[in-house]
Symmetry: D3
Subunit: 238 residues, 6 copies
């Protein structure tokens, strides 16, 4: 029995609020239940140094948490003077995941930065960031298309979305909330495209190592969930 | 004529959304027009080191801006590795302003941290932070009162609110938005209590220095505006 | 009764020692009683990046305290690895105050950095820095005039000087020394030009908030004191 | 055809040189072909603060690369003033992987730090670090057993080893060297125990996302390779 | 011919201004010609952690330069966020030199910090710092003696002073000023006690390596100069 | 009697292992007994900014210690976020020492970085670094000569090597190991060229200051030892 009463293959209520931010070229407040992440896309008319004169652009991501997004207040990273290892890991993952569905040449020598700021956290902030970040990226490309800078369909090759699965109280379940996440024996994040291809898998045994069968069960749960997320993304950008 | 069409003594639409955050002991999303600041109050059961065994508590504030809260994306301070001078100035101001209406002995040996994170910026983020921070602080004390830790009325001696005034296109105006702020010749922030006493005045001539008369006009505008803000705070906490 | 025996409207003994430094283009050791600040002006033949090709120059300030300028040794900021919030606030104030009387176009694409280093502190270091910094800036411009780089009178539009006032033991007094400053209920710093216009006002209630009347009394005291400071500046640069 | 002429399921020559370091409680120079990593285990007689009085110990890891371990000299992280995101990701992975086979209660309130320093890099430094780190950890526990501090068999529950697999030139291959790694379309790191359970999976599509079948092929390759690595570990500690 | 017209064995005019600082337990403005260093001694009633409960005290030094102490303004180390290698080298040298004549047990569990801040630089700042730092240390111990905390003669075992010598235009000369220092082929700093024993020697060939004979000539010059410095120290503390 | 049983003028077993690193243009694992330092030379085709368009090149050094090179694990400098004062002192010394025998004009506008990383420490790491660094530098120049970039003999004017001497248990001894170093009353490092000229002398009295005679004895020991080191360098590069 899950603390939230959800079924093992039931994700939390998912919503996307587009154009949340007045200033950004694309933005989306994504909610996976009580996990709320503001994703904004910022366009810059130049690439990072290592791509200059390559004809290619870049998509990168930064991730942050408001200090009281969590149950206990965390130290503000700006005050601490550096981003922690977890933050860096997550923002690298978001960037890689989004780039997997972007044609960087079709983007041209520009950079889009996806900022994912967690307003409220209840587990699954990285998967919400990827899923909502895709919407912000899409809307930024729409903004560019309206100015004849790119064709959305040539730059954005597919959807990308992500979900966590894990073994909670011996049961494989999807979309772990904080209570489940902190008690889970095993925890895996899956990032997949709209066509079902795998972009990234991160599986970690927090306690006991897991078997291949357990892992395959989690992957099946994830495949279904990501299918639903892609459907929701499609409805959101209609 | 103000860009927004407002009258010289007309503030933007102000709103307070209490309990915005699931986790914090007190929280408030404050809006001054398109300036949106999330204020959370976090209670800790110990004071900073210099107050240990003094019988007194402490109220402090931290301030941050999401990178794309503004028209152009700003570098994330956590990634830059330090908080800029402007950030530090503002968070020190918020902390001093709130402490001016708190009885630190009645609070007891505890610390309340008010985090003010700007979700969207359109001028006046520091005055919105103080005004909304007071609500978050109040609600945190209510939370404590419900647990028999303090009496709100003994800790919180008065309201405190803040507003900016400035000379825009030769006219003294209240509650400058970003367009006005960047063009203003003179700019002053006023922090006052519910009973009309002055907590903090910061007046700066960006271009031409200003006369005492101009300054007094700004102070009169501020006094009226802060009166309204306090009324709105009172309605909000009913 | 003030600890120093001064009258309420009596400033400490003020002196300016020009050309204190062998190397700087302009320099001044300014003393407000036991507060001693070395102000040097350093000319660079280029502007900060954001003014390049704008035809305008820049005046900026940096502030520091020797570790044992104070009663208790303070941690050296260079060893701590960063400038504290107070330092940044003060150096931003000094820079803004001096720029208020400089015609940046007449200066041309150059930068002048005013370093204000507190050799000994006894309250009022920021106001001494502004008042002495003006002398260093003036002498730097004289140095440039002697080399046909600028006309002093076209760049430097007016004097600027600063003083603190506060309510000490219920009495409004001018030019607080450390003993008064640490006990004052209210504390305001005023920066004004030679012609009496206001450049900056920073009023803070350390304890009880203050009334408008109290504030106006402090402003009157400041206006007189700054008048005297400007007279002393004029004598110093004869 | 692999650049090294290896078969698709053939790992590089693996070797472990135990007791490489005179000072460390356990140490091992591990070589996966031209990738050489020095792993040392350092015992401290106290736990990190969050475990104090918990009866439990801790195993953690740090990772570094000598600046010229690579084809182009990289900036020294100590000189840069911080560890990069990649470094943090890797050292967190090593730590988690080793802890998966350690009984922290049986270790008692002590900390063992595994330092993995890459002397020479040719791809697969993180998997070599985990595999060699296990030897260093084992030898540290032996050192402790000789002093009656622990029983090795009670603390160390199993072997752990790691290998990378990827799709290079459309072929799934094991143990990618640098040439393969930089050209691979897909890249996955697997960490498994001696009994074949999964500790960590990290799969990343660098270019085209991959299918579930491709992934399962990589996992099969990894399972066999890790089996061999565990056999080599067993021979090494005889 | 030396640029200053001095003879090869002639030091610059040396002076010590004791009690320069109102607050410090000991202080001295030392001048070696145009090199001016403010040395302050600050007493703390506790030792660094590694000496706790050892019965011994500690003497340490910090060194800094005002940004415009030099011909060209240098970046402020506090703003740069760290102390440079040269600064650290010098402050470690000052500390070691002073400790060489201190009986740390007779000092008791206290720390004295000697801050050496260069107000104006013209070569030889580190040797001036050591020579003047000894005066500040002596006066701090006098201050302590007056409070029955220590006996000066039991803590301070001897004088210590320092001078630079170098080969300038093929001539061995003493007490190099900036012009000589920047052109010197060889440069050596000597630290010796009142009784003529050697505390520290740092000889560096900037250009051509030097012979043993050249080095011995420099050491003879230094021995005489330090003899004079000690005489001046004795007069200063009368 | 020395702890190692060596005679007072007997150095430890010295060895140079050239081409230790697959990637570097020059490399050498140098051993002075149990002190093992990996020296690599990395060539870059540009100079530091201050030499641009000067026709001159640069040789610089960086120094590091693996955390467990020592008896007790030291904090990793990359994790601490900065290089300590000792590290900076040593790497500046290595760079100066090597530059003393390099013709920077003959090198041309290129930079060679000598990284000296201590794999295992047992005293004398800085002198081993200089002595082994010379081999790495030599081999880098050979690599360049093979590509017609320079003539080794025109760039490298002489050998340079270094050794420490000290007074241990009242006896002057050469090449102190860790046990001797930590107990030595006096400690001096000598850097000399193949022709016997002095490049750098650093003598420090850890406890009692030393006499000139003692110092001269140490210098004689060093001269002989460095003669041997240069002979070994010559054999190594045959």
């Amino acid at each position: 029995m899950r603390p939230s009463g959800r079924k093992t293959d039931q994700m939390r209520k998912i919503s996307f609020e587009r154009n949340f931010s007045k200033h950004a070229e694309g933005s989306c407040l994504v909610k996976f239940g009580d996990t709320h992440v503001l994703c904004t896309a910022s366009l810059e008319d130049k690439t990072p140094p290592w791509l200059r004169n390559s004809g290619k652009g870049w998509v990168t991501a930064e991730y942050g948490m408001l200090p009281r997004a969590t149950g206990e207040r965390m130290k503000r990273e700006a005050a601490a003077g550096k981003q922690g290892g977890r933050t860096q890991e997550i923002q690298r993952l978001i960037g890689r995941s989004l780039r997997a569905v972007v044609d960087l040449e079709a983007l041209g020598e520009r950079q889009i930065t996806i900022d994912c700021d967690v307003i409220q956290a209840d587990g699954g902030t990285r998967t919400a960031s990827i899923t909502g970040g895709w919407i912000a990226l899409h809307d930024c490309l729409k903004w560019m298309e309206a100015r004849n800078m790119v064709k959305v369909d040539r730059v954005l090759k597919d959807h990308v979305a992500a979900i966590s699965c894990g073994v909670f109280a011996t049961q494989p379940v999807i979309d772990l909330d904080y209570l489940e996440d902190s008690a889970a024996e095993t925890d895996a994040n899956f990032v997949m495209t709209g066509s079902g291809a795998i972009v990234e898998i991160q599986g970690t045994a927090e306690g006991t190592p897991f078997t291949e069968d357990e892992f395959l069960t989690l992957m099946r749960l994830a495949r279904n969930g990501i299918g639903e997320l892609v459907t929701l993304q499609k409805q959101a950008i209609l």
